[in-house]
């Protein structure tokens, strides 16, 4: 007969022990690393981190740098477009595959395989396909359309769309699979009810099915958004930020500041701003989603 109440710390002890790697990662690496970064963003660290305070100087410079502003703008445009297009295309493809079609496996594999390739590979392939001298443009011109112009990677106004094409090629497959999985989880009876009620298919999707798929949209959103914020390799491989600085993105700014300009402080300031932006969006959501209501154990 247990005579004393077990210590709170030892309740659920195994679960706590098992979570030590997670706790360490969260606290030491993510939280610790973030705090460290933020602290050093107030210094004038160059090649090596050093504690020489300069207050908000780094931030002042950051917002006076046209490259950073362009990076932010690019990320916004790119991010919104990727979100919209990958969700729409991914969902439409999934809906098409969900029509009990033949060769579903084949189609699904075709749409998904680019995801197995790294961004570096994706960037290279599309850099090549979009090269005006021997890619799509030259091929179409050689077919007789002499005035055909399609050189997104060499035109500052549309370069971000060139990157978008490659990003969508690489990433929509995964979105499609997620959506397909979600569609497969919808109760057949919903479809029957909609048919009996005479609701057109697109309306059923839009007003009934999609709202039911909220959880999977959330998972998808997390995966897409983390990818967008971190976009770096693709830009480096495809355009190197060019032409000019037309396709620069924040992650590249951070990296270049840290290792090319050897201005750690500036890089840290930029990454602090990135983190801050992410947190403003993510933390309230994460709290609603994962915080509160512990209806299970402990």
């Amino acid at each position: 007969m247990p005579s004393t109440r077990p210590n709170q710390l030892f309740r659920n002890l195994n679960a706590k022990i098992a979570s030590i790697p997670m706790i360490l990662t969260a606290v030491v690496v993510f939280l610790g690393g973030t705090v460290w970064t933020v602290v050093y963003s107030f210094t004038d660290s160059k090649l090596l981190p050093r504690m020489r305070w300069v207050g908000l100087d780094q931030y002042e410079r950051l917002w006076n740098t046209s490259r950073w502003l362009i990076s932010i703008e690019n990320l916004l445009i790119f991010g919104i477009l990727v979100l919209i297009f990958s969700l729409v295309i991914g969902f439409v493809l999934a809906a098409l595959l969900d029509q009990k079609i033949r060769f579903e496996d084949t189609f699904r594999t075709i749409f998904l395989y680019p995801f197995a390739l790294s961004f570096i590979v994706t960037g290279l392939v599309w850099q090549w396909l979009l090269n005006p001298d021997f890619g799509v443009q030259s091929v179409i011109r050689s077919l007789g359309f002499e005035n055909f112009n399609f050189d997104p990677l060499y035109n500052a106004d549309i370069v971000i769309y060139g990157i978008l094409i490659a990003a969508l090629w690489q990433g929509t497959g995964l979105v499609m699979v997620l959506m397909l999985a979600g569609l497969r989880g919808i109760d057949e009876d919903i479809w029957k009810a909609a048919r009996v009620d005479g609701i057109p298919m697109w309306k059923t999707y839009l007003f009934i099915v999609i709202p039911m798929m909220r959880p999977i949209f959330i998972t998808t959103l997390v995966i897409i958004t983390t990818g967008i914020v971190k976009v770096y390799d693709l830009v480096v491989a495809q355009t190197g930020g060019g032409p000019g600085i037309a396709s620069e993105v924040p992650a590249k700014y951070v990296y270049d500041m840290m290792f090319l300009s050897q201005n750690l402080g500036q890089g840290f300031a930029a990454s602090t701003i990135m983190l801050l932006t992410v947190m403003i969006v993510v933390i309230p959501w994460a709290y609603l989603e994962f915080g509160g209501k512990g209806k299970r154990h402990g």
Partner: protein, 362 residues
């Protein structure tokens, strides 16, 4: 000797109090049913007894042992779940053996117990199958078997029949009753929202609402002398008729609602006897008689038929008595149509009267 006793149990999740100061004593070999609508805390209470939920305050004893902080496995219980909760990747045999292996029971003993349980539950031919290959009824037998092989003093059932269709449910209900009769010394605690299951199976029923036990008594008492208005309304199908009115005490107490006056001299008031005031008068449909049968009843009235619901063996009639809805049950063969005027009558002694404010039985 109490087999299971719960003392001053509190359970809260954050600010939400789910169970409050709950006390319950269950005798050895007793079949206790926890009955209530969903969200009343009955499953929660069962989970607390099982040790699947950590309680906030209070004590739990099983077989006179304080198990408040014990792990579920150490409490000497077996449990059966609504969704069967069979381990999908193990065979039936594996499912039955899993708990025993965890408890390091010798191999031949495991085999012996499985054989006995399988025989008892008629699942011998299924032992090598996986759960996915079984029907719902078979799965639940296996789930019961899993509790059975543990050779424990207390069985906990968490709505075990709710996922089955009506016919299977009735079959398995009897089977559980038989099982209880065979295992004389085994205490069973059974959670359900189905009052038929409760009435048929229970030695005693605990009716729960909002985390508190409303009434704990044998089925007959619950049915005949409901402790409060909630219990009266919950038990019985079709449910009891309620008529709001007042008690007036002249020489004999009477119940008045509009123009209707019911003489309550035959009604057994509890405590200090009748007191004037606002009350609710409850009379069960099956205690109301019609036409000839009504003539001998102390209270009689004329009513108009509204709706007729034939159910085969008998017919439920919805009518209006002086503006109050009144349901009553008649023989299935009685020819009745909407608009018919009929004479009804009942004995107020069989009624239940509740204080309008406290809702307690008077």
């Amino acid at each position: 000797m109490a087999s299971v006793s719960v003392k001053n149990l509190d359970l809260s999740f954050g600010d939400i109090k789910v169970l409050q100061n709950l006390n319950l004593e269950i005798d050895k070999g007793e079949f206790l049913v926890l009955l209530g609508s969903s969200g009343c805390g009955k499953s929660t209470l069962l989970n607390c007894i099982a040790g699947l939920l950590d309680i906030t305050d209070g004590q739990i004893f099983i077989s006179d042992r304080n198990v408040t902080w014990e792990q579920p496995k150490d409490r000497g219980i077996g449990m059966v779940f609504q969704s069967y909760a069979l381990y999908p990747q193990m065979t039936v045999e594996g499912n039955l053996a899993f708990g025993l292996k965890n408890a390091r029971v010798p191999k031949d003993e495991i085999e012996k117990r499985i054989a006995r349980a399988a025989q008892l539950l008629h699942i011998e031919p299924l032992l090598k199958r996986k759960p996915a290959q079984l029907s719902g009824g078979q799965r639940q037998r296996v789930a019961i078997g899993r509790a059975l092989v543990r050779d424990v003093d207390v069985f906990l059932f968490d709505e075990p029949l709710s996922n089955l269709d009506a016919k299977l449910r009735a079959e398995l209900r009897v089977e559980i009753k038989r099982l209880h009769q065979r295992l004389e010394n085994t205490t069973m605690i059974y959670v359900t929202h189905d009052q038929i299951e409760a009435m048929t199976l229970a030695d005693r029923i605990a009716i729960m609402r909002a985390g508190a036990i409303q009434q704990l008594a044998d089925p007959a008492t619950i049915y005949n002398k409901p402790y409060n208005r909630y219990v009266a309304g919950f038990i019985g199908s079709p449910s009891i008729n309620f008529i709001d009115g007042t008690i007036e005490v002249a020489s004999d107490p009477v119940f008045k609602a509009g123009d209707t006056t019911i003489d309550l001299s035959r009604y057994a008031f509890s405590g200090n006897g009748p007191k004037p005031g606002a009350v609710t008068f409850g009379i069960r449909p099956e205690h109301i008689f019609m036409d000839k049968a009504a003539t001998d009843e102390p209270f009689r009235a004329d009513v108009e038929v509204d709706v007729v619901e034939p159910m085969g063996a008998d017919t439920l009639v919805w009518s209006t008595l002086d503006g109050h809805e009144l349901r009553f049950r008649v023989d299935g063969q009685t020819p009745l149509r909407k608009g018919d005027r009929v004479k009804v009558g009942f004995d107020p002694a069989r009624a239940s009267i509740f204080d309008a404010e406290t809702e307690m039985r008077l």
